[in-house]
Symmetry: D4
Subunit: 221 residues, 8 copies
């Protein structure tokens, strides 16, 4: 028995187990989705899902399934759930190549019921691009800041807002970037207040934390 699905998680954590598809066979993912559907779960999410996996699932799963291509996310039994109507989460990213990770965060946030504002390609090399969106960032209940290379965006943003900044280092870069280590260390050493960090490329993890914060701000959870 290769998987013991944590059906109890929704009760404990307010959301079902999310399937990390990388490193699982198509058959394993299908089986897990089927068992979750059987148990009556909704908004069953798979992250790191290739287009091929999506097509395999569409073919073989009895239920409808949606694919968010830029975010590499599949979602079955998609329903509107209790919304967080007050305010929004801002997802800010530094460069074009960070798109995949930023979209992973943004789509997860939306499925979980949050309003999202996307502010992409505003890295510090041309800092005026960031300042022209300051309003949407400062008014958010939480900010997800996505950046590769030197990852300086998170510190600059955190210095300008009074809400938590969840920083996501990405593996975008080369050489002394060491697959994201550079951005990771930058974010952990931020001299600005209010930054907490998740794993390299972990848009999903940042979205969950931001969703929890936004839910608290909405009096939910």
């Amino acid at each position: 028995d290769f998987a013991k699905i944590d059906h109890h998680r929704k009760i404990r954590q307010g959301m079902s187990e999310v399937v990390f598809c990388e490193g699982k066979t198509e058959q394993q993912v299908l089986k897990i989705f089927e068992r979750m559907i059987e148990k009556g779960e909704v908004n069953i999410i798979g992250t790191r899902a290739s287009k091929e996996l999506y097509e395999y699932l569409k073919e073989n799963l009895k239920e409808d399934i949606i694919y968010y291509e830029a975010a590499r996310i599949v979602c079955a039994k998609r329903v509107e759930i209790k919304k967080n109507p007050k305010g929004h989460v801002a997802v800010v990213s530094a460069g074009t190549a960070d798109l995949k990770v930023a979209e992973e965060a943004a789509v997860i946030l939306e499925i979980l019921g949050n309003n999202v504002k996307r502010i992409y390609d505003v890295g510090v090399a041309g800092i005026h691009r960031l300042f022209s969106h300051l309003d949407e960032i400062q008014s958010a209940n939480a900010v997800v800041a996505v950046a590769g290379m030197e990852g300086a965006l998170a510190s600059v943003v955190a210095g300008l807002v009074s809400r938590p900044v969840i920083a996501v280092p990405t593996s975008v870069g080369y050489g002394a970037n060491f697959k994201g280590l550079s951005a990771l260390l930058t974010m952990l050493n931020s001299c600005a207040n209010g930054v907490a960090v998740v794993n390299i490329d972990n848009g999903f993890g940042a979205a969950v934390v931001a969703h929890m914060i936004n839910s608290l701000a909405n009096g939910n959870l």
Copy 2:
């Protein structure tokens, strides 16, 4: 001019600049405190303050100053500020040696106006100790989880609650601990949802994030 104090920070971030005392001379810290007092700031905080520094400040500063020894924190012009009355923040720690970092978080949280519940020495080697405090942890608006060595506590706690867990790796340990690297990597790779991480031994940083979350949950900020 060695310091440009960010007097504007209170407006931007809801709290004054906090002085990181390590690596500054006693004279520099004194000067910074004096200038902040002049500007009318209150609850002026210095972290990583040795007992010697505290005594120097007590002697030379015109204002009262308090020392939180276990937390290595000094505070001048201590006043009650707008409280976050609803709920509390839980500060959970794994071992006795993590005390300094946990107290840094707890004291900062209290000065910023949060109710704090301390649950110390509940590391996973004897996991029943954690379970016997589950209520206080699950009912918190945010959890600060402090652990050295392998830092497994953060994952276990996060798997049991629906609120954000701010994880603080500590440098407690030896050998392949590499001064906290081990606990840091553990926390960044948490398989549980809802964990975000701050720098090794950064109790202060975790407290600020948890305070922001608790304030949102209280409708403040």
Copy 3:
């Protein structure tokens, strides 16, 4: 002469040399198996064997050969050897993606004559899954604990049992996991008593140690 097979190992160590197939050509593995068969060895094992290698050996070897696909193990001249009848070894794993490594350990243990109980996908994110199998774990003569990502499972298990826990970090994860480094450091720094660690993804090595322990508990070896 590319290989000096250690035919004496069975006498010294109670088990024949096991062939690590990765990095060897099909011809080299075949030659080694043939020479071991000539010398009268039984239960000749190859680890890290691809399906292609298995098929090549089946075609070219004069003897029957078995393939354990999930474990990536081939075995020629499979016979029942002296069993360890008293008790069992528990193989515990954290997630679905750790299956390959867990199965490598489990199959090696079985070929060497041990009863094995498999308890898979019980990672600490949903710790109740572990507790519902506590009996099988606590009654084992030795536990093999397999986990990637943050690898916290080994510490939690070791805190609950009085027998040796052989911990196997896996390379499952991404980003700051650094191909298993994260789980490796976690396990080496365990705050729980009774944990010893083998190389990343080394299910084979853990099985050998657990087999030696179980044999001692059975009065063998």
Copy 4:
């Protein structure tokens, strides 16, 4: 309350919590010893205890306390416990400078009731020194192999015995030794069967695993 002593550990794990003294104040260690004595625990052990700490405890504790200087261990309420009479554990070390770690392992093993044979300074640079003690090593129920610098001793020993080798890398060395990393990696990558590894300088941890194995071989535990 800085410490929640795990009084239940003896039941779960067959031995009381052992106090890691490094990083605790003398007062904290004293308090923990007093509370354990109150609860009726015996053979209360403190590791990494300086001579100063020992003298402080001797002065202030109402009970007798013993100091094992080379091992840096204190022990209060020392009593003979259920012995493992059959066979012994061999503690093998590579060089003179590994003495502290080897003695930590040996003394812990003796307090826990095991017969210990010490075979010190038999590193691979003069491998005949090892061979002249082969009997005592091959007849042991478990071997603790302690080595710094390149740590090759563990592989050589493991290639010669049929029982588990618990390898302890030490921080002895300089330069590219990187405080024990070199020996640690050597031991994790052992090409010999039957090696499991504990943290750098963790003589205590190796002793506990070896004790568990020897107990199983004696039908105890």
Copy 5:
């Protein structure tokens, strides 16, 4: 003969050898200074000079010697040399604790004949502090940017100017800062154009490069 002073360097490189005092005995530094004076060199500089070393040299050297305390620099036979009259070099630093390194750069630049503008404690946590000095930075012929912790200052500055930015990571910080590694990687991975980096804490090296650039801009060298 412990030192072969490179008296030819002035001809090759336009400046005499500078003595790195750390790791040399007081006697060695004295001897080197004496021999350089004999050869008629002027503006003989020692970096990383402690106050004790300065006092020893003052006592024993026949020539006047100046101490720049914040910069930890000694200078013998101080004379005005050919100035770079057009324009200036800006030395920008992130925090109070970066002072030592920033001053090392600034003093070296001044001794070598450059106008220097110091703009200290303008790190990105309060980015308005930087913007209020933009004029002096944008009009410089070269910028030396000194920052520890996450070192984001260099990228932000480089995005705003059209002249070379010589970035100096400092070892200021703790934990995942890894003694300056974090700031070093940030600066090497800068997404802004025109950044080149020197070693951690190497204010001296940055000053030499900036001096060469300013000299070229002045038509000298």
Copy 6:
């Protein structure tokens, strides 16, 4: 909107944004080039461009586009811009395999209007090859020094010239080279004066800094 092109950069930095093509889709690069052409920008450069990308752009872009194959650079709307007529920049490389990076630097420098002298394959293993080109190197306004493996070239060159040396470590090498780390550390620790370093394989970045220096020496910028 995946890209916010920094059209203002030419004003701030004297050169347009350069497109880093790696990690962008062909469609994304095309779109960016089209939008820059619309805005009237010239000499629009893409780095890390594969031959396939070049052919795609040639097909789909309305403007002429040039491909510099060895440098992996595409350039649209190529025009002569204000030249730096006085002097040149020397691009020096250690081995044949460093060609790609050296050419990236040389071509960027030429497009930006600099005279370039290429001196390739003059690594320190046969140091006479370097000495026979000393004139061209010593007379340059700036030197770009490109080297992989141990990267010693930068130090040797810097010891011989009075102008800034921009050092580019390359990922050429194997084993303990760790993908360029070895050359990077060498260059950062140079005992010669006047070396500043850019990221591994970052020929582009070095070219920009050298261009800025050469422009200053020409009285431009």
Copy 7:
């Protein structure tokens, strides 16, 4: 001009430049071979040569060319040169997978005129295999010791001989082997006298050093 062949090297170093083929195009290698032949060089060697490269050269080069497949070496204008008749060099390797590196060393040694004794697959897991070849190892003028995984072979061999041991770590292994780092550190930290180390997988480099030593022992060079 992509290559400045060091034709002078034979005079300076007693052997022609050897071509490292990895990372060069087939055309580049061909051109270099042609130019060396033109200059009258003999025994022109290319290392890291794939079978494809060999076939391309055979087709296009006017001279005969030999391929040593296991060693991945091509050699043009192969002639017997001045031999080192007295004694031999021993090439010792730990496992089957180290063959490629060991053969690189052995073939280079033979082309350079040395007698070579190959002693392969004698790793420390079965140390009797090494002892049964002790004569050939102890009588060598120099030993090349090739090993991956934990690389303990070099220390054990060096402890048994009075001649220099040139140790070659290989990238054979997985997990905490970190592509040869483990064996490299082992060899650098050898507790035995007389070990010097070359880069990971650098059979060529070891052969050159061993050849120089053997030549000295033969009174040549």
Copy 8:
């Protein structure tokens, strides 16, 4: 019994065991020296010996003992042994701060009976200093090259000689030097032929290898 002296080593390796004094108590070193003297050994060497240790030994040992202060070496029962009369070993060092390591090599070489030429402070920043000693370097039977910081000296020297270069990286430097890692990697990745490397600061190890080579060149050993 803390030490098993390898009295057989002289027979196996031509030289007695050398005592590494760091990390041993004064009593332990004394005991070891006494036992070696008893056995009739001569030229008993202790490395890494502080002046205090030397004085302790002088006081307590019945035999004469010599102290080489710059080399931190003690030697008891100093006698002339079989010399290597033909030729010499060159010890070359880069900077003043490398003196300790260079002297360790030079003194060991002399005690073992080799002629030594010292050529110190000839680092590549002023490469003419090296060239003016080329004769003594090129005529040596072996070269020991000692360098810290970027360690480029070894490559440059090896490119100029036809004999083996034993490279010793030193921990001299700061920042990205990482305690000698930088020089170590440089030397391992040398693009010049004939370099083999020992551990950081291991002057002793280099001396032994160079002594073995010089002995072979003298027909001894």
